[in-house]
Symmetry: C2
Subunit: 330 residues, 2 copies
């Protein structure tokens, strides 16, 4: 805590007690939770601690008029997705919340959104700081992962299949409908809502992430777009890839758009928070037979470049309509 918080120490504590109380209990490995200078936590006896911190800023990462429930949900989803990409089991999170004003209804709804995911993933709020300022949310997540099975970015191998979870481009379509006037009139109201849910209520893939410990060589979550994030894996692993753009998993809703636009969004738009991973073909069978949404879209190659082809093997040029992942960029 610091001197000049507008919500003073005592009221800050009661703020947490009032709105976030449901998030601050439940785990026996929390020796001392919210309310002291530090939380005291009992680590896993044999596994590594996995940690990741992410910040969401109003007007940069979300629209000012987002429902606070959805903002709370998404703020935690982003962190859980990082744990999923490492195959880590979620345990705890901390919240640094900067708010322009102390608004009870807003806080209640924001906390409910956080709680929705926190309960699902058995992850407990163990520390926080609330300050006055432009709306900014930093969340750090903590999880545990066996040392031998941590998924990384730098461990893809030549010959690995490249797979993704779920469908791609949905969140990007919602974002572009508002930012660049992407026309969604061909969609039903239900399909429209689906795309917005994908942007504002992403599903972190923690169950699949843990299954990947057994079969995958490398993994990353797709927050910046498939090409950008797969690019990180390839660069870190010193390998290349061939992707078949016709095998990209595209949702029913996104299929209502012209195929070239759907493909571009699936390749370059971010915010879907799906996983992209590489695994040897013989280890994939079990995963593909399980009831999980996984699609193989390409293969890791020796030549350090990313080549896109269509179903007939023709090289595919990425369209440059500007619907990529850097839209809030000025």
């Amino acid at each position: 805590m610091v001197t000049t918080d507008f919500i003073l120490a005592a009221s800050e504590f009661s703020l947490i007690q009032t709105y976030f109380a449901q998030l601050t209990r439940g785990r026996s490995d929390v020796v001392k939770g919210i309310g002291d200078d530090c939380a005291l936590l009992r680590g896993h006896p044999t596994e590594l601690l996995a940690v990741s911190i992410d910040t969401l800023v109003e007007g940069v990462h979300f629209f000012a008029d987002i429902e606070p429930f959805r903002l709370g949900y998404k703020s935690l989803a982003v962190g859980l997705s990082d744990l999923a990409a490492m195959g880590a089991e979620p345990a705890w999170f901390t919240l640094a919340l900067t708010l322009p004003e102390n608004n009870a209804a807003w806080l209640e709804s924001f906390a409910s959104g956080l709680a929705e995911l926190a309960v699902q993933h058995n992850v407990q709020l163990v520390g926080g700081d609330t300050t006055r300022g432009p709306l900014t949310i930093s969340i750090q997540v903590h999880g545990h992962v066996p040392e031998t099975s941590g998924l990384r970015r730098d461990t893809a191998r030549v010959g690995d299949k490249i797979c993704v979870t779920g469908t791609l481009g949905d969140a990007g379509a919602a974002l572009n409908s508002r930012l660049t006037g992407l026309n969604l009139q061909a969609l039903t109201a239900e399909q429209h809502d689906y795309l917005w849910s994908r942007l504002e209520l992403p599903t972190p893939r923690n169950t699949i992430g843990k299954m990947l410990r057994q079969c995958a060589h490398a993994a990353i979550d797709i927050s910046d777009g498939l090409l950008a994030d797969l690019g990180h894996v390839l660069a870190a692993s010193h390998v290349g890839a061939v992707l078949n753009v016709d095998s990209l998993p595209i949702s029913e809703a996104l299929l209502q758009l012209p195929r070239s636009i759907a493909t571009e969004l699936a390749l370059t738009a971010g915010d879907d928070y799906e996983l992209c991973f590489t695994a040897p073909a013989n280890k994939l069978r079990q995963l593909l037979e399980a009831d999980v949404e996984v699609t193989c879209i390409g293969e890791v190659t020796t030549v350090p470049e990313l080549v896109l082809v269509d179903h007939a093997g023709r090289v595919f040029e990425t369209p440059q309509t500007g619907m990529g992942y850097d839209h809030f960029k000025q």
Copy 2:
């Protein structure tokens, strides 16, 4: 990482590589540091993990014209002070940095300030997120503490002596010289600089914090002012206290001000990041004989109230000139 960071993933990584590289190495318990979805850390085999997150916002917690070196230093000091108050040994930190622009000179200086303290305390940067927005710094610190010796707020006992480290009110004097026109003309230039160093380059008391594991019952760091922070300890422990205002440790610089002002600042101004702790008299001897700056200022009592007295035992009324710890508050 999220979709719309203005500093894109690749350049974000190189930003960290360029300016923060010196902070990202050195500890053998960091299995995987900066550059993946999560950092992977090896916990202490027997001790608890202590974590704390704090946010500093421009115009709320620091002046817009603060030297970036000092801002970097202070951002980490605030977290280390929380670890000190728990008697924890610092290990790692993460940094969520929201910046209005990508300014190389600023980043270099900010990183140097962080590094100054990080090297001193052998604490390594293991994760980060850089985003565009109003200048906001969230730092989470991580440390280790034996389960049997964690200092808390709720464990003060009747009869304990109440002690503080260092001197009190220095940071508040600097703050008030700028915010409320507190007159510092009686001070030498050196004394003036000293007060500003106390505000902007606070010394986290981690060495003393670890020594307190052996002798103290309760501890807290003084970030919101002695009365407010000691108040947290008393409330959490269901006890009261008598403080002798004439025994408050006041610096040579602060003694240049009228005594009533110096006393008020020592009682109510925050940002000094000294420790306040309670301990039985018989366990204090060793600490007081060691070469550490510790002063006993009172005693824990049964009646749940905080009574101020002077050296003659007369009840002392706190002056209300408004130089307390909530100055940025509108």
